[in-house]
Symmetry: C2
């Protein structure tokens, strides 16, 4: 897949992965609606297979491979959820997965990856070390690389989440998603723009990993520097396949503080009784800290994942 995904590609991805993943529910909360002054529709990817939306893109990519392309297995680098997703998708496909993980990834995520049968390699927690280790693994195994976000098959897969959300909630005025490498937000933007042409797409990221906001302002990709944020899924830089889609279709990037992320996460747990990881709470944090005013609007919010180490909670 060498061109930007179209809505047809996202629909094809949906058919390709639909029998394996969950069509996750859309939940509401009258308490959170009241606190934010808007009608919020939470797309619960924390209930998804492997506990995060990442299974969508990984499964679409792994099952888009030809038999010859898949036979030596698949390889990737990831801070966590994409790793588990590639591991499970590979198991579904019946091929070996090789996963490079930064040494500071949450232990719970490494365990999940290994339980799915993948071989794990650790490296220093920066993009260069990850890519070097991945190149070494590929040189040895000849595995097919499934990049965590800078891959059109992955972007199309992530777009299936917003496809479902727009089908279920056609009245949305705006859709909010977290921004890490840009796979989710670009897939979301592609789907929403086609399905709900009047709706806006807003990306939210931690202040401490504000490379998307800076990149959009600069007009070119600026890498993330020392992303010391609790939102461990959002510590990555943008890619040359996600950024142009974001430039064209994302109307705004908003940043939030660490305190706002923890507060939003805790409210989701306390009020909605659902377990959401810090990265997944980032869009709600933007609303609660008044970084966006959506008064009276219908807002879709992608709760991207729910993988949290319960022994180390941020409160």
């Amino acid at each position: 897949m060498n061109n930007e995904p179209t809505l047809a590609d996202i629909r094809a991805a949906s058919r390709r992965i639909g029998q394996r993943i969950h069509r996750t529910p859309v939940l509401t909360s009258s308490t959170l609606d009241r606190m934010c002054g808007a009608h919020l529709f939470f797309k619960c990817e924390n209930f998804q297979k492997v506990g995060a939306f990442k299974i969508r893109g990984a499964t679409n990519a792994v099952f888009s491979l030809t038999d010859a392309g898949a036979i030596h297995g698949v390889a990737t680098h990831s801070s966590g959820n994409h790793a588990a997703a590639v591991a499970l998708a590979a198991r579904w496909r019946g091929v070996q997965a090789y996963v490079v993980m930064p040494e500071n990834a949450p232990p719970i995520k490494r365990v999940a990856v290994e339980e799915y049968g993948a071989k794990v390699f650790t490296c220093a927690p920066d993009l260069k070390a990850r890519e070097q280790e991945l190149a070494a693994v590929v040189a040895k195994t000849d595995a097919a690389v499934i990049h965590p976000y800078n891959d059109y098959r992955v972007i199309a897969g992530q777009g299936t989440c917003a496809l479902e959300l727009c089908e279920d909630m056609p009245e949305l005025d705006v859709v909010l998603a977290p921004v890490g490498g840009g796979g989710l937000i670009s897939g979301t933007a592609l789907a929403v723009t086609e399905l709900l042409p009047t709706a806006r797409v807003i990306g939210v990221e931690p202040e401490r990993a504000d490379d998307a906001q800076r990149s959009m302002a600069a007009g070119h990709i600026l890498p993330v520097v020392h992303p010391d944020t609790i939102a461990d899924g959002l510590r990555t830089s943008l890619g040359d396949r996600t950024f142009p889609i974001m430039q064209r279709l994302v109307s705004q990037i908003v940043t939030v503080s660490e305190e706002a992320i923890v507060l939003a996460m805790r409210l989701l747990w306390e009020r909605m009784k659902i377990v959401v990881e810090p990265s997944g709470a980032v869009p709600l944090a933007a609303l609660l800290s008044h970084k966006i005013d959506l008064s009276g609007r219908h807002a879709g919010i992608i709760l991207s994942g729910g993988n949290v180490d319960l022994a180390h909670l941020p409160w």
Copy 2:
């Protein structure tokens, strides 16, 4: 309501409360199915209004009052969830609620009760002190007492949970519910026996609050003694309206350790990404610790509530 509820009474309760409460979803987990060797169907009352099934019985009782009977308000004693439920039901009805709470009730539950507009009175954490304080409140206010479980209107209301579960999952072989004062288990037993005559109803309680198991063996109510269990909703003794129903329709009472309760609670959070309170995890604890063998069976499990103080988790 002076006679044991019939299925017709439970259906009437369902109509009476249906516009105000949630019809909660039934969730499944392939991981937990695999761990327990059974097909588990979790009725998610943690997603219910006030975060627990208690709103069902309280709302049915409060809206069963005549206008003259409701005019001086309603009063109750409760360790937490029933208190919030009566407070909210009273607000819906437009009357004052007076709530007696034991001084060791979780702070989060007291706050919720006050937010719903109830007046709270605290007392020592034993049944005698609760009842004395409640009598004093009623003498002063002339409020109508809504007992947390020993009340046929409350029992009929709690039965609406199993009514929904049996409607949604007619293939169930067995239904498990936690046992505190017996309101939920007796309402559940009344509904299940009528709707699924071949299904069994099993009650589960903490070893440290095993009064139901002892009472069933003795053939008469034995009070709970020093119920030092993390399952704060299950520290109460049975009542003379719940116990006869349990004797007739509950096939078994099983007890579980504190460790098993915490493990079950943590698994529900980690694997299903839902927040369940200790009392709500008690039935799953029985399966995980092999206190019941349901191999290959379809089991309904009532997750009774999700109100937890996130600042004080048991792991």
